[in-house]
Symmetry: C2
Subunit: 309 residues, 2 copies
Protein backbone atom coordinates (compact mmCIF):
# COMPACT_ATOMS: atom_id res chain seq x y z
CA UNK A 1 0.00 0.00 0.00
CA UNK A 2 2.87 2.42 0.75
CA UNK A 3 4.03 2.21 -2.87
CA UNK A 4 0.47 2.70 -4.12
CA UNK A 5 0.14 5.80 -1.93
CA UNK A 6 3.39 7.19 -3.35
CA UNK A 7 2.10 6.51 -6.86
CA UNK A 8 -1.20 8.25 -6.02
CA UNK A 9 0.65 11.24 -4.60
CA UNK A 10 2.68 11.63 -7.78
CA UNK A 11 -0.37 11.13 -9.98
CA UNK A 12 -2.43 13.71 -8.11
CA UNK A 13 0.24 16.44 -7.96
CA UNK A 14 -1.14 19.43 -9.85
CA UNK A 15 -4.52 17.75 -10.36
CA UNK A 16 -5.94 18.39 -6.89
CA UNK A 17 -5.36 21.16 -4.37
CA UNK A 18 -2.70 20.94 -1.73
CA UNK A 19 -5.17 21.96 0.96
CA UNK A 20 -3.94 24.06 3.87
CA UNK A 21 -3.04 22.79 7.32
CA UNK A 22 -4.38 25.59 9.54
CA UNK A 23 -3.58 26.15 13.20
CA UNK A 24 -6.67 26.16 15.42
CA UNK A 25 -6.26 28.26 18.53
CA UNK A 26 -9.78 27.25 19.61
CA UNK A 27 -9.14 23.51 19.45
CA UNK A 28 -5.65 23.95 20.87
CA UNK A 29 -7.18 25.62 23.93
CA UNK A 30 -9.78 22.86 24.27
CA UNK A 31 -7.36 19.94 23.86
CA UNK A 32 -4.44 21.52 25.65
CA UNK A 33 -2.03 20.71 22.81
CA UNK A 34 -1.30 22.39 19.47
CA UNK A 35 -4.03 21.38 17.02
CA UNK A 36 -4.10 21.91 13.28
CA UNK A 37 -6.94 21.37 10.81
CA UNK A 38 -6.28 19.60 7.51
CA UNK A 39 -8.79 21.48 5.40
CA UNK A 40 -9.95 18.99 2.80
CA UNK A 41 -13.23 20.90 2.90
CA UNK A 42 -11.42 23.35 0.60
CA UNK A 43 -10.60 20.60 -1.88
CA UNK A 44 -11.72 20.58 -5.52
CA UNK A 45 -15.34 19.25 -5.77
CA UNK A 46 -15.68 20.06 -2.08
CA UNK A 47 -14.12 16.98 -0.47
CA UNK A 48 -11.12 14.64 -0.29
CA UNK A 49 -13.05 12.16 -2.45
CA UNK A 50 -11.70 13.72 -5.64
CA UNK A 51 -8.31 12.21 -4.81
CA UNK A 52 -9.56 8.62 -4.90
CA UNK A 53 -11.93 9.22 -7.79
CA UNK A 54 -9.25 10.67 -10.09
CA UNK A 55 -6.68 8.03 -9.20
CA UNK A 56 -9.03 5.03 -9.36
CA UNK A 57 -10.70 6.21 -12.59
CA UNK A 58 -7.26 6.64 -14.20
CA UNK A 59 -6.71 2.90 -13.77
CA UNK A 60 -10.03 1.84 -15.32
CA UNK A 61 -11.10 1.53 -18.94
CA UNK A 62 -14.59 0.10 -18.39
CA UNK A 63 -17.83 2.09 -18.05
CA UNK A 64 -18.09 3.00 -14.37
CA UNK A 65 -20.95 2.79 -11.93
CA UNK A 66 -20.62 3.80 -8.32
CA UNK A 67 -22.69 4.41 -5.22
CA UNK A 68 -22.36 7.41 -2.96
CA UNK A 69 -24.00 9.49 -0.29
CA UNK A 70 -22.78 12.39 -2.38
CA UNK A 71 -19.12 13.38 -2.15
CA UNK A 72 -17.63 10.35 -3.85
CA UNK A 73 -20.37 10.63 -6.46
CA UNK A 74 -19.58 14.28 -7.07
CA UNK A 75 -15.90 13.40 -7.36
CA UNK A 76 -16.53 10.54 -9.81
CA UNK A 77 -18.82 12.79 -11.85
CA UNK A 78 -15.88 15.18 -12.14
CA UNK A 79 -13.27 12.46 -12.81
CA UNK A 80 -15.23 10.36 -15.32
CA UNK A 81 -17.73 12.24 -17.45
CA UNK A 82 -20.85 10.18 -18.04
CA UNK A 83 -20.39 7.81 -15.08
CA UNK A 84 -23.48 6.26 -13.49
CA UNK A 85 -23.92 7.26 -9.86
CA UNK A 86 -26.46 5.63 -7.53
CA UNK A 87 -27.46 7.79 -4.57
CA UNK A 88 -29.77 7.25 -1.58
CA UNK A 89 -33.01 9.22 -1.77
CA UNK A 90 -31.77 11.20 1.27
CA UNK A 91 -28.94 12.70 -0.83
CA UNK A 92 -28.07 16.34 -0.09
CA UNK A 93 -29.54 18.61 -2.75
CA UNK A 94 -26.30 20.50 -3.40
CA UNK A 95 -24.49 17.23 -4.08
CA UNK A 96 -27.26 15.89 -6.33
CA UNK A 97 -27.42 19.12 -8.35
CA UNK A 98 -23.65 19.21 -8.77
CA UNK A 99 -23.51 15.63 -10.09
CA UNK A 100 -26.25 16.32 -12.61
CA UNK A 101 -24.57 19.58 -13.66
CA UNK A 102 -21.35 17.67 -14.37
CA UNK A 103 -23.18 15.36 -16.74
CA UNK A 104 -23.39 12.24 -14.59
CA UNK A 105 -26.17 9.68 -14.98
CA UNK A 106 -27.49 10.05 -11.42
CA UNK A 107 -29.97 7.42 -10.23
CA UNK A 108 -31.82 7.89 -6.97
CA UNK A 109 -32.57 4.67 -5.07
CA UNK A 110 -35.70 4.07 -3.07
CA UNK A 111 -33.64 3.75 0.11
CA UNK A 112 -32.49 6.26 2.72
CA UNK A 113 -29.37 4.33 3.67
CA UNK A 114 -26.09 3.77 1.90
CA UNK A 115 -25.95 -0.03 2.29
CA UNK A 116 -29.30 -0.78 0.60
CA UNK A 117 -28.47 1.70 -2.13
CA UNK A 118 -25.20 -0.12 -2.77
CA UNK A 119 -27.04 -3.48 -3.08
CA UNK A 120 -29.19 -1.90 -5.75
CA UNK A 121 -26.17 -0.32 -7.46
CA UNK A 122 -24.49 -3.73 -7.64
CA UNK A 123 -27.62 -5.16 -9.32
CA UNK A 124 -27.60 -2.32 -11.84
CA UNK A 125 -23.87 -2.88 -12.44
CA UNK A 126 -24.43 -6.59 -13.20
CA UNK A 127 -27.40 -5.86 -15.46
CA UNK A 128 -25.68 -3.09 -17.42
CA UNK A 129 -22.24 -4.74 -17.38
CA UNK A 130 -20.51 -1.77 -15.76
CA UNK A 131 -17.56 -1.76 -13.37
CA UNK A 132 -18.65 -1.05 -9.79
CA UNK A 133 -16.17 1.33 -8.16
CA UNK A 134 -16.51 1.20 -4.38
CA UNK A 135 -16.29 4.60 -2.70
CA UNK A 136 -13.98 3.12 -0.04
CA UNK A 137 -13.33 -0.63 -0.32
CA UNK A 138 -10.74 -0.35 -3.07
CA UNK A 139 -6.97 -0.10 -2.72
CA UNK A 140 -6.56 2.77 -5.18
CA UNK A 141 -9.32 4.72 -3.43
CA UNK A 142 -7.83 4.07 0.01
CA UNK A 143 -4.34 5.03 -1.14
CA UNK A 144 -5.44 8.27 -2.75
CA UNK A 145 -8.25 9.33 -0.40
CA UNK A 146 -6.38 8.64 2.82
CA UNK A 147 -2.74 8.00 2.02
CA UNK A 148 -2.08 11.17 0.08
CA UNK A 149 -3.82 13.27 2.75
CA UNK A 150 -1.55 11.72 5.38
CA UNK A 151 1.50 12.36 3.20
CA UNK A 152 0.68 16.08 3.11
CA UNK A 153 -0.19 16.22 6.81
CA UNK A 154 3.12 14.63 7.85
CA UNK A 155 4.99 17.16 5.73
CA UNK A 156 3.00 20.23 6.80
CA UNK A 157 2.55 19.41 10.52
CA UNK A 158 5.66 17.36 11.23
CA UNK A 159 5.25 17.55 15.01
CA UNK A 160 1.77 16.02 15.08
CA UNK A 161 1.45 12.52 16.51
CA UNK A 162 -2.32 12.28 17.06
CA UNK A 163 -4.57 12.12 14.01
CA UNK A 164 -8.31 12.58 14.35
CA UNK A 165 -10.19 11.22 11.33
CA UNK A 166 -13.77 10.76 10.17
CA UNK A 167 -14.74 7.13 9.51
CA UNK A 168 -17.61 6.13 7.23
CA UNK A 169 -16.74 3.28 4.88
CA UNK A 170 -13.20 3.62 6.17
CA UNK A 171 -11.29 4.52 3.01
CA UNK A 172 -9.81 7.77 4.24
CA UNK A 173 -8.94 6.34 7.65
CA UNK A 174 -7.39 3.13 6.25
CA UNK A 175 -5.15 4.93 3.77
CA UNK A 176 -4.26 7.66 6.27
CA UNK A 177 -3.42 5.23 9.07
CA UNK A 178 -1.30 3.08 6.75
CA UNK A 179 0.92 6.00 5.80
CA UNK A 180 1.01 7.66 9.22
CA UNK A 181 1.87 4.51 11.19
CA UNK A 182 4.44 3.42 8.64
CA UNK A 183 6.45 6.59 9.18
CA UNK A 184 5.43 7.44 12.75
CA UNK A 185 5.16 4.20 14.71
CA UNK A 186 4.38 6.11 17.90
CA UNK A 187 1.43 7.99 16.42
CA UNK A 188 -2.17 7.67 17.54
CA UNK A 189 -5.13 7.22 15.18
CA UNK A 190 -8.57 8.18 16.45
CA UNK A 191 -11.60 7.43 14.28
CA UNK A 192 -14.75 9.51 14.70
CA UNK A 193 -18.21 8.17 13.91
CA UNK A 194 -21.89 8.86 14.34
CA UNK A 195 -23.08 7.24 17.57
CA UNK A 196 -26.08 5.77 15.73
CA UNK A 197 -23.89 4.21 13.04
CA UNK A 198 -20.68 3.15 14.85
CA UNK A 199 -19.50 0.51 12.40
CA UNK A 200 -15.81 0.76 13.29
CA UNK A 201 -16.47 0.56 17.02
CA UNK A 202 -18.78 -2.45 16.53
CA UNK A 203 -16.33 -4.14 14.16
CA UNK A 204 -13.43 -3.75 16.59
CA UNK A 205 -15.61 -5.20 19.36
CA UNK A 206 -16.82 -8.08 17.15
CA UNK A 207 -13.40 -8.81 15.68
CA UNK A 208 -14.75 -8.71 12.13
CA UNK A 209 -16.09 -6.08 9.75
CA UNK A 210 -19.70 -5.01 10.24
CA UNK A 211 -20.38 -4.12 6.63
CA UNK A 212 -24.09 -3.36 6.96
CA UNK A 213 -26.05 -1.25 9.39
CA UNK A 214 -29.66 -0.13 9.35
CA UNK A 215 -30.24 3.29 7.79
CA UNK A 216 -30.05 6.20 10.21
CA UNK A 217 -31.70 9.56 9.66
CA UNK A 218 -28.83 12.02 9.71
CA UNK A 219 -27.48 15.07 7.91
CA UNK A 220 -24.07 13.35 8.04
CA UNK A 221 -24.67 10.83 5.26
CA UNK A 222 -20.95 10.25 4.71
CA UNK A 223 -20.56 8.54 8.08
CA UNK A 224 -23.71 6.45 7.84
CA UNK A 225 -23.68 2.70 7.13
CA UNK A 226 -21.28 -0.22 7.50
CA UNK A 227 -17.51 -0.29 7.15
CA UNK A 228 -15.69 -1.93 4.24
CA UNK A 229 -14.34 -5.48 4.69
CA UNK A 230 -11.06 -4.44 3.10
CA UNK A 231 -10.77 -1.10 4.89
CA UNK A 232 -11.49 -2.76 8.23
CA UNK A 233 -8.78 -5.38 7.70
CA UNK A 234 -6.35 -2.48 7.18
CA UNK A 235 -7.70 -0.39 10.03
CA UNK A 236 -8.11 -3.09 12.70
CA UNK A 237 -4.44 -3.25 13.73
CA UNK A 238 -3.82 0.49 13.22
CA UNK A 239 -6.66 2.36 14.92
CA UNK A 240 -6.17 3.30 18.56
CA UNK A 241 -9.51 4.67 19.60
CA UNK A 242 -12.99 5.51 18.34
CA UNK A 243 -14.96 8.59 19.36
CA UNK A 244 -18.73 8.59 18.89
CA UNK A 245 -20.76 11.76 18.49
CA UNK A 246 -24.47 12.48 18.27
CA UNK A 247 -26.38 14.31 15.55
CA UNK A 248 -26.74 17.35 17.83
CA UNK A 249 -23.01 17.36 18.58
CA UNK A 250 -22.24 17.14 14.86
CA UNK A 251 -24.38 20.19 14.15
CA UNK A 252 -22.61 22.00 16.99
CA UNK A 253 -19.41 21.14 15.16
CA UNK A 254 -20.65 22.80 11.95
CA UNK A 255 -21.57 25.93 13.91
CA UNK A 256 -18.24 25.91 15.75
CA UNK A 257 -16.34 25.97 12.47
CA UNK A 258 -18.33 28.96 11.21
CA UNK A 259 -17.81 30.81 14.49
CA UNK A 260 -14.11 29.99 14.93
CA UNK A 261 -12.64 29.57 11.45
CA UNK A 262 -15.36 31.08 9.18
CA UNK A 263 -15.46 27.99 6.99
CA UNK A 264 -18.63 26.29 5.94
CA UNK A 265 -18.27 22.53 6.37
CA UNK A 266 -20.77 19.73 5.89
CA UNK A 267 -22.17 17.74 8.82
CA UNK A 268 -20.20 14.60 7.85
CA UNK A 269 -16.98 16.58 8.12
CA UNK A 270 -17.98 17.92 11.52
CA UNK A 271 -17.75 14.52 13.27
CA UNK A 272 -14.08 15.17 14.03
CA UNK A 273 -14.70 18.72 15.23
CA UNK A 274 -17.59 17.47 17.37
CA UNK A 275 -15.38 14.80 18.92
CA UNK A 276 -12.88 17.50 19.92
CA UNK A 277 -15.26 20.13 21.29
CA UNK A 278 -17.18 17.56 23.37
CA UNK A 279 -13.97 16.32 24.99
CA UNK A 280 -14.36 12.85 23.51
CA UNK A 281 -10.85 12.72 22.17
CA UNK A 282 -7.64 13.21 24.10
CA UNK A 283 -4.34 14.03 22.50
CA UNK A 284 -1.07 13.43 24.32
CA UNK A 285 0.71 15.85 22.00
CA UNK A 286 0.30 17.91 18.84
CA UNK A 287 -2.71 16.79 16.81
CA UNK A 288 -4.21 17.13 13.35
CA UNK A 289 -7.95 17.02 12.77
CA UNK A 290 -9.07 16.12 9.26
CA UNK A 291 -12.00 18.22 8.00
CA UNK A 292 -13.25 16.27 5.04
CA UNK A 293 -15.79 18.29 3.03
CA UNK A 294 -18.03 21.30 2.53
CA UNK A 295 -20.84 19.98 0.34
CA UNK A 296 -24.00 21.07 2.06
CA UNK A 297 -27.04 22.78 0.59
CA UNK A 298 -27.87 26.36 1.53
CA UNK A 299 -31.19 25.22 3.02
CA UNK A 300 -29.44 22.77 5.32
CA UNK A 301 -26.89 25.37 6.43
CA UNK A 302 -29.71 27.73 7.25
CA UNK A 303 -31.47 25.11 9.37
CA UNK A 304 -28.26 24.21 11.19
CA UNK A 305 -27.43 27.84 11.99
CA UNK A 306 -30.99 28.60 13.11
CA UNK A 307 -30.86 25.86 15.70
CA UNK A 308 -27.87 27.15 17.49
CA UNK A 309 -26.48 30.62 17.07
CA UNK B 1 5.23 49.87 -8.51
CA UNK B 2 5.94 46.83 -10.73
CA UNK B 3 9.26 46.26 -8.96
CA UNK B 4 7.62 46.67 -5.55
CA UNK B 5 4.97 44.10 -6.52
CA UNK B 6 7.71 41.68 -7.56
CA UNK B 7 9.45 42.25 -4.25
CA UNK B 8 6.18 41.69 -2.39
CA UNK B 9 5.55 38.47 -4.29
CA UNK B 10 8.99 37.14 -3.36
CA UNK B 11 8.61 38.24 0.25
CA UNK B 12 5.18 36.62 0.64
CA UNK B 13 6.07 33.27 -0.98
CA UNK B 14 5.58 30.61 1.68
CA UNK B 15 4.17 33.14 4.16
CA UNK B 16 0.66 33.35 2.74
CA UNK B 17 -1.50 30.87 0.87
CA UNK B 18 -1.47 30.62 -2.88
CA UNK B 19 -5.25 30.70 -3.00
CA UNK B 20 -7.06 28.70 -5.69
CA UNK B 21 -8.45 30.04 -8.92
CA UNK B 22 -11.70 28.05 -9.24
CA UNK B 23 -13.84 27.74 -12.35
CA UNK B 24 -17.43 28.87 -11.79
CA UNK B 25 -19.90 27.15 -14.08
CA UNK B 26 -22.68 29.25 -12.55
CA UNK B 27 -21.06 32.61 -13.32
CA UNK B 28 -19.85 31.34 -16.70
CA UNK B 29 -23.46 30.58 -17.62
CA UNK B 30 -24.61 34.00 -16.43
CA UNK B 31 -21.86 36.01 -18.14
CA UNK B 32 -21.60 33.86 -21.25
CA UNK B 33 -17.81 33.60 -20.98
CA UNK B 34 -15.52 31.38 -18.87
CA UNK B 35 -15.37 32.83 -15.35
CA UNK B 36 -12.99 31.91 -12.55
CA UNK B 37 -13.03 32.95 -8.92
CA UNK B 38 -9.80 34.04 -7.22
CA UNK B 39 -10.58 32.75 -3.74
CA UNK B 40 -8.83 35.13 -1.39
CA UNK B 41 -11.66 34.30 1.01
CA UNK B 42 -9.59 31.17 1.74
CA UNK B 43 -6.53 33.25 2.62
CA UNK B 44 -4.79 33.15 5.99
CA UNK B 45 -6.62 35.44 8.47
CA UNK B 46 -9.63 35.23 6.18
CA UNK B 47 -8.79 37.86 3.57
CA UNK B 48 -6.22 39.22 1.10
CA UNK B 49 -5.31 41.89 3.65
CA UNK B 50 -2.68 39.63 5.21
CA UNK B 51 -0.55 40.17 2.10
CA UNK B 52 -0.27 43.92 2.60
CA UNK B 53 -0.02 43.70 6.37
CA UNK B 54 2.92 41.27 6.36
CA UNK B 55 4.78 43.13 3.63
CA UNK B 56 4.21 46.64 5.01
CA UNK B 57 4.98 45.63 8.60
CA UNK B 58 8.23 44.01 7.46
CA UNK B 59 9.40 47.44 6.32
CA UNK B 60 8.57 49.24 9.58
CA UNK B 61 10.42 49.42 12.86
CA UNK B 62 8.13 51.86 14.69
CA UNK B 63 5.16 50.97 16.91
CA UNK B 64 2.21 50.63 14.55
CA UNK B 65 -1.31 51.97 14.74
CA UNK B 66 -3.86 51.35 12.05
CA UNK B 67 -7.55 51.75 11.32
CA UNK B 68 -9.75 49.08 9.84
CA UNK B 69 -13.30 47.91 9.30
CA UNK B 70 -11.89 44.54 10.30
CA UNK B 71 -9.91 42.56 7.75
CA UNK B 72 -6.85 44.79 7.58
CA UNK B 73 -6.97 45.01 11.36
CA UNK B 74 -7.08 41.23 11.71
CA UNK B 75 -4.19 40.96 9.29
CA UNK B 76 -2.09 43.56 11.12
CA UNK B 77 -2.88 41.87 14.44
CA UNK B 78 -1.41 38.70 12.91
CA UNK B 79 1.56 40.43 11.29
CA UNK B 80 2.61 42.69 14.18
CA UNK B 81 1.87 41.40 17.67
CA UNK B 82 0.78 44.20 19.95
CA UNK B 83 -0.25 46.66 17.23
CA UNK B 84 -2.94 49.22 18.01
CA UNK B 85 -6.02 48.85 15.83
CA UNK B 86 -8.82 51.41 15.70
CA UNK B 87 -12.16 50.02 14.53
CA UNK B 88 -15.58 51.58 13.91
CA UNK B 89 -18.19 50.63 16.51
CA UNK B 90 -20.02 48.76 13.72
CA UNK B 91 -17.13 46.25 13.47
CA UNK B 92 -18.12 42.62 12.78
CA UNK B 93 -17.95 40.59 15.97
CA UNK B 94 -15.90 37.76 14.45
CA UNK B 95 -13.27 40.24 13.30
CA UNK B 96 -13.18 42.06 16.63
CA UNK B 97 -12.84 38.81 18.60
CA UNK B 98 -10.07 37.56 16.33
CA UNK B 99 -8.02 40.75 16.71
CA UNK B 100 -8.33 40.61 20.49
CA UNK B 101 -7.44 36.90 20.49
CA UNK B 102 -4.24 37.67 18.58
CA UNK B 103 -3.16 40.12 21.25
CA UNK B 104 -3.88 43.39 19.45
CA UNK B 105 -4.70 46.58 21.33
CA UNK B 106 -8.15 47.06 19.75
CA UNK B 107 -9.83 50.42 20.26
CA UNK B 108 -13.45 50.92 19.26
CA UNK B 109 -14.30 54.41 18.00
CA UNK B 110 -17.59 56.15 18.64
CA UNK B 111 -18.29 56.23 14.91
CA UNK B 112 -20.06 53.82 12.56
CA UNK B 113 -18.07 54.83 9.51
CA UNK B 114 -14.50 54.22 8.45
CA UNK B 115 -13.57 57.81 7.62
CA UNK B 116 -14.43 59.31 11.03
CA UNK B 117 -12.73 56.39 12.73
CA UNK B 118 -9.56 57.08 10.73
CA UNK B 119 -9.60 60.75 11.80
CA UNK B 120 -9.67 59.58 15.38
CA UNK B 121 -6.94 56.99 14.74
CA UNK B 122 -4.70 59.72 13.29
CA UNK B 123 -5.22 61.79 16.46
CA UNK B 124 -4.30 58.78 18.61
CA UNK B 125 -1.25 58.15 16.42
CA UNK B 126 -0.03 61.73 16.89
CA UNK B 127 -0.67 61.64 20.64
CA UNK B 128 1.01 58.29 21.20
CA UNK B 129 3.77 58.82 18.62
CA UNK B 130 2.94 55.70 16.63
CA UNK B 131 3.27 55.11 12.90
CA UNK B 132 -0.12 55.19 11.16
CA UNK B 133 -0.29 52.39 8.59
CA UNK B 134 -3.06 53.07 6.08
CA UNK B 135 -5.08 49.98 5.13
CA UNK B 136 -4.94 51.04 1.47
CA UNK B 137 -3.21 54.37 0.78
CA UNK B 138 0.32 53.01 1.01
CA UNK B 139 2.53 51.71 -1.79
CA UNK B 140 3.64 48.55 0.03
CA UNK B 141 0.02 47.73 0.92
CA UNK B 142 -1.15 48.33 -2.65
CA UNK B 143 1.68 46.26 -4.12
CA UNK B 144 1.10 43.30 -1.82
CA UNK B 145 -2.70 43.40 -1.46
CA UNK B 146 -3.46 43.89 -5.11
CA UNK B 147 -0.31 43.34 -7.13
CA UNK B 148 0.54 39.90 -5.79
CA UNK B 149 -3.07 38.75 -6.25
CA UNK B 150 -2.90 39.87 -9.89
CA UNK B 151 0.44 38.10 -10.34
CA UNK B 152 -1.14 34.80 -9.26
CA UNK B 153 -4.29 35.38 -11.30
CA UNK B 154 -2.35 36.04 -14.51
CA UNK B 155 -0.37 32.83 -13.96
CA UNK B 156 -3.35 30.65 -13.01
CA UNK B 157 -5.95 32.00 -15.44
CA UNK B 158 -3.77 33.12 -18.36
CA UNK B 159 -6.71 33.51 -20.75
CA UNK B 160 -8.61 35.98 -18.59
CA UNK B 161 -8.78 39.58 -19.83
CA UNK B 162 -11.59 40.97 -17.66
CA UNK B 163 -10.95 41.42 -13.95
CA UNK B 164 -13.81 42.13 -11.56
CA UNK B 165 -12.59 43.59 -8.28
CA UNK B 166 -14.03 44.95 -5.04
CA UNK B 167 -13.18 48.60 -4.36
CA UNK B 168 -13.23 50.12 -0.88
CA UNK B 169 -10.19 52.27 -0.14
CA UNK B 170 -8.82 51.07 -3.45
CA UNK B 171 -5.64 49.28 -2.38
CA UNK B 172 -6.46 45.90 -3.89
CA UNK B 173 -7.80 47.42 -7.10
CA UNK B 174 -4.86 49.83 -7.55
CA UNK B 175 -2.21 47.15 -7.09
CA UNK B 176 -4.12 44.62 -9.16
CA UNK B 177 -4.78 47.02 -12.05
CA UNK B 178 -1.15 48.16 -12.11
CA UNK B 179 0.14 44.62 -12.59
CA UNK B 180 -2.65 43.44 -14.90
CA UNK B 181 -2.51 46.41 -17.29
CA UNK B 182 1.29 46.38 -17.36
CA UNK B 183 1.31 42.85 -18.74
CA UNK B 184 -2.07 42.77 -20.50
CA UNK B 185 -2.64 46.15 -22.11
CA UNK B 186 -5.92 44.94 -23.63
CA UNK B 187 -7.42 43.85 -20.31
CA UNK B 188 -10.49 45.36 -18.67
CA UNK B 189 -10.70 46.36 -15.01
CA UNK B 190 -14.14 46.61 -13.44
CA UNK B 191 -14.44 47.95 -9.90
CA UNK B 192 -17.44 46.97 -7.77
CA UNK B 193 -18.81 49.16 -5.01
CA UNK B 194 -21.75 49.64 -2.70
CA UNK B 195 -24.29 51.90 -4.41
CA UNK B 196 -24.59 53.96 -1.21
CA UNK B 197 -20.82 54.47 -0.98
CA UNK B 198 -19.63 54.76 -4.60
CA UNK B 199 -16.38 56.63 -3.98
CA UNK B 200 -14.60 55.40 -7.12
CA UNK B 201 -17.56 56.23 -9.37
CA UNK B 202 -17.87 59.70 -7.79
CA UNK B 203 -14.12 60.31 -7.99
CA UNK B 204 -13.98 59.39 -11.68
CA UNK B 205 -16.90 61.72 -12.33
CA UNK B 206 -15.36 64.54 -10.29
CA UNK B 207 -11.86 64.05 -11.66
CA UNK B 208 -10.34 63.95 -8.17
CA UNK B 209 -10.37 61.55 -5.23
CA UNK B 210 -13.43 61.65 -2.97
CA UNK B 211 -11.66 60.58 0.21
CA UNK B 212 -14.58 61.01 2.60
CA UNK B 213 -18.17 59.88 2.45
CA UNK B 214 -20.88 59.87 5.10
CA UNK B 215 -21.18 56.59 7.04
CA UNK B 216 -23.57 54.07 5.55
CA UNK B 217 -25.27 51.28 7.46
CA UNK B 218 -24.11 48.12 5.75
CA UNK B 219 -22.87 44.62 6.50
CA UNK B 220 -20.19 45.25 3.86
CA UNK B 221 -17.93 47.49 5.96
CA UNK B 222 -14.93 46.88 3.73
CA UNK B 223 -16.49 48.79 0.83
CA UNK B 224 -17.79 51.68 2.91
CA UNK B 225 -16.19 55.13 2.94
CA UNK B 226 -13.98 57.24 0.67
CA UNK B 227 -11.24 56.14 -1.67
CA UNK B 228 -7.54 56.82 -1.04
CA UNK B 229 -5.92 59.84 -2.71
CA UNK B 230 -2.91 57.72 -3.70
CA UNK B 231 -4.95 54.68 -4.78
CA UNK B 232 -7.23 56.86 -6.88
CA UNK B 233 -4.30 58.48 -8.67
CA UNK B 234 -3.16 54.97 -9.61
CA UNK B 235 -6.65 53.72 -10.49
CA UNK B 236 -7.95 56.72 -12.45
CA UNK B 237 -6.17 55.91 -15.73
CA UNK B 238 -6.51 52.13 -15.34
CA UNK B 239 -10.11 51.38 -14.37
CA UNK B 240 -12.56 50.78 -17.22
CA UNK B 241 -15.89 50.58 -15.47
CA UNK B 242 -17.59 50.67 -12.09
CA UNK B 243 -20.52 48.44 -11.09
CA UNK B 244 -22.70 49.50 -8.16
CA UNK B 245 -24.71 47.04 -6.10
CA UNK B 246 -27.23 47.43 -3.31
CA UNK B 247 -27.17 45.93 0.16
CA UNK B 248 -29.86 43.41 -0.84
CA UNK B 249 -27.89 42.41 -3.94
CA UNK B 250 -24.75 41.95 -1.82
CA UNK B 251 -26.59 39.60 0.53
CA UNK B 252 -27.89 37.70 -2.52
CA UNK B 253 -24.25 37.35 -3.51
CA UNK B 254 -23.36 35.77 -0.15
CA UNK B 255 -26.24 33.29 -0.54
CA UNK B 256 -25.28 32.56 -4.15
CA UNK B 257 -21.77 31.55 -3.10
CA UNK B 258 -23.12 29.16 -0.46
CA UNK B 259 -25.57 27.63 -2.93
CA UNK B 260 -23.17 27.38 -5.90
CA UNK B 261 -19.67 26.95 -4.46
CA UNK B 262 -20.35 26.04 -0.80
CA UNK B 263 -18.02 28.72 0.48
CA UNK B 264 -18.90 31.14 3.20
CA UNK B 265 -17.87 34.66 2.19
CA UNK B 266 -18.37 37.99 3.90
CA UNK B 267 -20.73 40.65 2.52
CA UNK B 268 -17.83 42.92 1.49
CA UNK B 269 -16.47 40.12 -0.67
CA UNK B 270 -19.86 39.56 -2.26
CA UNK B 271 -19.91 42.92 -4.09
CA UNK B 272 -18.18 41.32 -7.07
CA UNK B 273 -20.46 38.28 -7.07
CA UNK B 274 -23.48 40.56 -6.77
CA UNK B 275 -22.30 42.64 -9.72
CA UNK B 276 -22.11 39.47 -11.82
CA UNK B 277 -25.41 37.84 -10.85
CA UNK B 278 -27.34 41.08 -11.33
CA UNK B 279 -25.98 41.52 -14.85
CA UNK B 280 -24.21 44.75 -13.95
CA UNK B 281 -20.90 43.67 -15.42
CA UNK B 282 -20.26 42.51 -18.95
CA UNK B 283 -17.19 40.57 -19.97
CA UNK B 284 -16.09 40.40 -23.58
CA UNK B 285 -14.02 37.30 -22.85
CA UNK B 286 -12.72 35.08 -20.05
CA UNK B 287 -13.00 36.78 -16.67
CA UNK B 288 -11.72 36.47 -13.12
CA UNK B 289 -13.78 37.61 -10.15
CA UNK B 290 -11.85 38.37 -6.97
CA UNK B 291 -13.55 37.09 -3.80
CA UNK B 292 -11.78 38.95 -1.06
CA UNK B 293 -12.69 37.53 2.37
CA UNK B 294 -14.71 35.28 4.64
CA UNK B 295 -14.68 37.10 7.97
CA UNK B 296 -18.29 37.20 9.03
CA UNK B 297 -19.79 36.30 12.39
CA UNK B 298 -22.05 33.26 12.72
CA UNK B 299 -24.94 35.48 13.80
CA UNK B 300 -24.64 37.58 10.65
CA UNK B 301 -24.46 34.50 8.42
CA UNK B 302 -27.60 33.18 10.04
CA UNK B 303 -29.45 36.44 9.43
CA UNK B 304 -28.31 36.57 5.80
CA UNK B 305 -29.38 33.00 5.10
CA UNK B 306 -32.74 33.46 6.82
CA UNK B 307 -33.62 36.34 4.55
CA UNK B 308 -33.23 34.46 1.38
CA UNK B 309 -33.04 30.68 1.17
Amino acid sequence: MIELIREAGEFLAGKVRRTPVEFSSGLSDLLGVPVWLKLEALQLTGSFKIRGALFAVSKLTEAIITCSAGNHGKAVAYAARGATICVPRSVDKSKFDAMVAMGADVRVSEFDGYDETQDWALEVAAREKKYFLSPFDDDAVMAANGGTVAMEVLEDAPDARTFILPVGGGGLAAGFATWAKHFLKDSTIIGCQHVMSPALRMSLDAGHAITRLPAVETLAGGVEGGIGARTFSVLQPLVDDVALVSEAEILDGVRWMVAHHQYLIEPTAAVTIAACITGKVRAGGPAVVVVSGRNVSAGTVKRILEEGV
